[in-house]
């Protein structure tokens, strides 16, 4: 039943079509976030939008909700194809959206939050009793238990999400868009949410469900569309005969792997050795849970996995930016389990962080300063505690040339560079230190094709120079193109390790989805 064309077979259904999108395109500069997307949602249906990060799912739903205007194509809601002006207009036409980041006021109660934006008043006084009653009625009707008088900040995340859903329902939404609703939930909360979704659909509410978790799609969705690189690359009308592997192979595509010329790896001694590492996420839940991995000198180990399976916490913990709660990390013979970021860096760990704007750069400092961001206090960049700007600048000029950083000079603020060039600054800084271990987290996210190639070539060169490389990427193509060995992370631990040469895309996709049964 799997099709890889962009046309999904019309299901023989006489149900009312709630949402129909035809030929929708949206570009940002030269980047095509959405290209010629067509899809349909009927009443009472759960339709999944499946795709990796950056596939264009969020851009698509933002246009449905009136947060962005399409460049081309139409969005019809109940047959009405007039342009959706803004979210207010979308809400008026029966669309409700639950964002990844909740739009709730933490210090207000559930009932107060429900009123926000359309407060009703009796004689100039807020009708809180009415709001409270409404919460009770709605939660009884949809079987979504919520205490109207509880303050949002005291509620668990799953319940906050429930409030968001109720809020949308209270605005008479018959099409509910859930943007990665399970990303923030515990497994139990996820199960509860999936149950709620089924009940809502049975009662006639349509749901557009954005996710990259295959199991959830199979668990609740009636149909699904797969997005990749801004296009609908496939769709499934009948999910009952589909397996996670089918979906995985559609999601990661069958395109030619970005070619990276590299010689056979000649691994040397073990540089990074991680044993039973445990790290908690920002919510205090286990994110890395008994993680074991070894990376040797002269090899690239690719860590493949769907985002949110502990990769970020793992990398931050190795880098000394996040404490671990169990296990150990060794760099050669040195125990760096408890080293802070400064010592880890000094011990020879280079780290290209996942979020370069947040962690990798200080936008207000010059390119030259950013190129010594974690070595500013070492000779020759400082003599004692006095900085040597001559040396800093010299290093900047050299690296700007060597790493092809396109800027007028090295004195302009790093914040003024384009994404690709910002990343080159980070890459230049981390690689020029000749680290024993290079950790590259999503090293090419959001950079242009030219820079991607450049960065890939540099990573291979670092390997050939004898560095151990740990490549973390949500892009399976990147992993397959670069890694000599691939470890698949799921649920905070390594579920499989395969040789880079024998790696099978579909197999890895399946493992990434947590399917280790056969």
């Amino acid at each position: 039943m799997t099709q890889t064309t962009s046309e999904v077979r019309e299901s023989p259904s006489s149900r009312e079509t709630l949402l129909e999108i035809e030929g929708l395109s949206k570009s940002f500069g030269t980047v095509h976030a959405n290209q010629d997307i067509s899809l349909r949602v009927d009443r009472g249906e759960i339709v999944a939008l499946l795709g990796e990060n950056g596939a264009g799912k969020s851009t698509l739903v933002k246009q449905i909700f009136g947060l962005m205007t399409p460049d081309a194509g139409t969005i019809s809601i109940k047959g009405d194809a007039t342009r959706i002006k803004d979210p207010k207009d979308a809400i008026r036409r029966g669309i409700g959206m639950v964002h990844q980041h909740f739009q709730l006021v933490p210090v207000m109660t559930v009932a107060e939050n429900m009123m926000l934006g359309h407060e009703s008043a009796k004689g100039g006084i807020l009708d809180l009793d009415g709001a409270r009653r409404m919460v009770k009625e709605l939660s009884a009707k949809h079987n979504l238990a919520v205490d109207p008088d509880a303050e949002i900040e005291d509620l668990p995340v799953g319940t906050q999400q429930r409030v968001e859903i109720l809020k949308a329902l209270s605005r008479k939404a018959d099409l509910l868009i859930l943007d990665e609703p399970t990303a923030v939930l515990t497994p139990q909360e996820t199960d509860e949410l999936l149950g709620v979704m089924k009940e809502l659909a049975a009662a006639g509410t349509s749901i557009v469900f954005i996710t990259h978790k295959l199991r959830e799609v199979l668990a609740v969705a009636d149909r699904c569309y797969v997005l990749r690189q801004g296009k609908v690359v496939g769709g499934v009308d009948d999910l009952s005969n589909t397996t996670t592997s089918d979906l995985a192979s559609m999601m990661v595509g069958r395109d030619v792997v970005l070619r990276v010329d590299k010689a056979e790896a000649t691994p040397g001694e073990t540089v990074l050795s991680i044993k039973g590492l445990q790290v908690k996420d920002d919510r205090g839940l286990p994110a890395v849970d008994g993680f074991d991995l070894e990376v040797r000198a002269g090899e690239i180990v690719g860590l493949a996995g769907v985002e949110g399976n502990g990769q970020r916490e793992l990398v931050e913990s190795i880098a000394g930016m996040r404490p671990s709660v169990g296990g150990s990390v060794h760099l050669g013979k040195d125990d760096i389990t408890r080293s802070n970021a400064h010592d880890t860096n000094n011990a020879g760990v280079g780290h290209i962080p996942e979020d370069r704007e947040k962690h990798g750069l200080v936008g207000g400092w010059s390119i030259a300063d950013n190129l010594v961001l974690n070595r500013y206090d070492e000779p020759p960049y400082a003599k004692g505690f006095v900085r040597d700007f001559g040396a800093v600048r010299e290093n900047g000029v050299k690296l700007r040339e060597e790493f092809d950083i396109r800027s007028p000079n090295v004195d302009v603020p790093a914040g003024s560079l384009s994404g690709g060039n910002k990343q080159k600054v980070v890459v230049a800084r981390e690689m020029s230190a000749r680290p024993r271990l290079l950790m590259a987290a999503q090293p090419t996210r959001g950079v242009d094709v030219g820079s991607i190639e450049f960065i890939h070539r540099r990573i291979v060169e670092a390997r050939d120079a004898g560095a151990a490389v740990l490549l973390v990427s949500a892009e399976l193509d990147e992993i397959l193109g670069l890694a000599d060995r691939i470890a698949v992370i799921h649920g905070g631990k390594v579920v499989a390790e395969v040789d880079g040469k024998d790696a099978d895309r579909t197999e890895i996709g399946r493992l990434m989805a947590g399917d280790t049964d056969h």
Binding site: V31, A33, G54, V362, W365, S416, S418, V449
Partner: protein
């Protein structure tokens, strides 16, 4: 001097991107297109943007004086005459100039005490309390150790004042780093606590001099009094030197880089191994030390050389105006402190000679403060023309 915070000038044209992606091969990861900085503005706006570090404070002061003129006129006086009198007295009479420079000394120091934390993204409202802590420390040691040789006594009294100020500010820093208490709240409260404790100490407490008709500490011995050399108070060269040292520290040393990196992007600082806890403690301790030193000079170089209510005036709060007027630039605190010092020094003359209530100076300073807060608004207007990454403190101080 070079201002590192100057918005990108003509050399910040958008960086030419790498080879444009061919139409047929969209990037593997479509993302929201990232663009470089927009082209810098040209013409009048460009001039204003490039020189806003100087123009904004100047406009603030001019506007404040214009509004002040209306208020003076409303009281039936001639504003031109009033201003002329104010500044003639403050700068061109011997007693006036001495008073101006005596005010300038602590004002530079408390201005620095606010400016340094601004660079780290902290807003130190506690200059007043830290100055008082320093002043009472100097008063205590200056009397308790009165038998020491005078020169040594001065040094010890100043050292204790610096230490007291640093400790008082460190309480706020520790509350911030260990308990997450916002420094604005804690420093304001510590101001009140300082007032309360000192009130007790000099009223009937251990430091009170019962011979005085009103609450006061004992005076420091005559030898330890820093009587001015003509119109030059002892503390002024020290304060000016420290402004230069602080500027050097911030712009030239690794510590300064650490402080400003935390202020500009604390996440990147964490990534680079710079501890926000350490920088917070250091910045606040330095601020407290500077404010404490201001307190020592207030006590040792101005009559009656004893701690009594009101000697701190509103110096600590004027420090906020000065730091903002200087836009966080340590050297900028010098002209700002001279201006505020002159206004404070000339205020009594307005009353004696013309009959204008001296509070008009308070009003002028308040309006100036309001106007220098405009950079927040100005930045918002200029937003598209300046480097991104504006943080709250950045828009105030940097």
């Amino acid at each position: 001097m070079a201002d590192p915070d100057r918005p990108p000038a003509k050399d910040a044209s958008p960086a030419p991107d790498a080879a444009p992606a061919p139409e047929t091969a969209p990037p593997a990861v479509p993302v929201v297109a990232e663009r470089g900085a927009p082209p810098p503005p040209t013409g009048v706006l460009g001039f204003l943007v490039r020189h806003q570090a100087i123009i904004v404070p100047l406009v603030a002061v001019v506007l404040a004086f214009a509004i002040g003129a209306i208020l003076i006129r409303a009281q039936g006086f001639n504003p031109t005459y009033a201003y002329q009198l104010l500044f003639t007295h403050s700068f061109f009479t011997e007693s006036g100039l001495l008073a101006t420079l005596q005010k300038t000394t602590p004002l530079v120091l408390v201005g620095l005490a606010v400016a340094i934390p601004l660079k780290v993204g902290l807003f130190n409202i506690g200059g007043q309390g830290q100055l008082m802590a320093g002043g009472i420390g100097a008063a205590w040691v200056g009397y308790a150790l009165r038998d020491l040789p005078a020169a040594l006594l001065v040094v010890v009294a100043i050292a204790v004042a610096v230490l007291f100020g640093a400790m008082w500010a460190s309480i706020a820093a520790l509350l911030k780093t260990t308990r997450g208490v916002h420094e604005v709240i804690s420093t304001i409260m510590l101001n009140s606590i300082a007032v309360g404790i000192i009130d007790w100490l000099i009223n009937n407490g251990p430091l009170s001099d019962p011979a005085q008709p009103f609450p006061a500490s004992h005076a420091v011995p005559e030898g330890a009094r820093l009587t001015p050399l003509g119109v030059l108070p002892w503390g002024l060269p020290v304060a000016l030197l420290l402004a230069v040292v602080v500027a050097w520290m911030l712009n030239r040393t690794t510590l300064g880089f650490e402080l400003q990196t935390v202020g500009r992007n604390k996440f990147a600082a964490g990534y680079a191994g710079i501890s926000a806890t350490k920088t917070t403690l250091i910045a606040m301790a330095m601020s407290g030390a500077l404010a404490g030193l201001a307190g020592a000079f207030e006590l040792l170089q101005i009559e009656p050389y004893r701690y009594q209510n009101g000697i701190a005036g509103s110096l600590g709060f004027d420090g906020i105006t000065i730091a903002l007027l200087a836009r966080g630039n340590p050297l900028g605190t010098i002209p700002a402190a001279v201006l505020v010092g002159a206004m404070r020094a000339g205020a009594p003359t307005l009353q004696f000679q013309v009959g204008i209530r001296p509070e008009v100076v308070d009003v002028l300073l308040a309006i100036t403060l309001l106007m220098v807060s405009l950079p927040v608004i100005a930045k918002w207007i200029f937003r598209r023309h300046t480097v991104k990454q504006t943080q709250l403190a950045g828009s105030w101080g940097a």
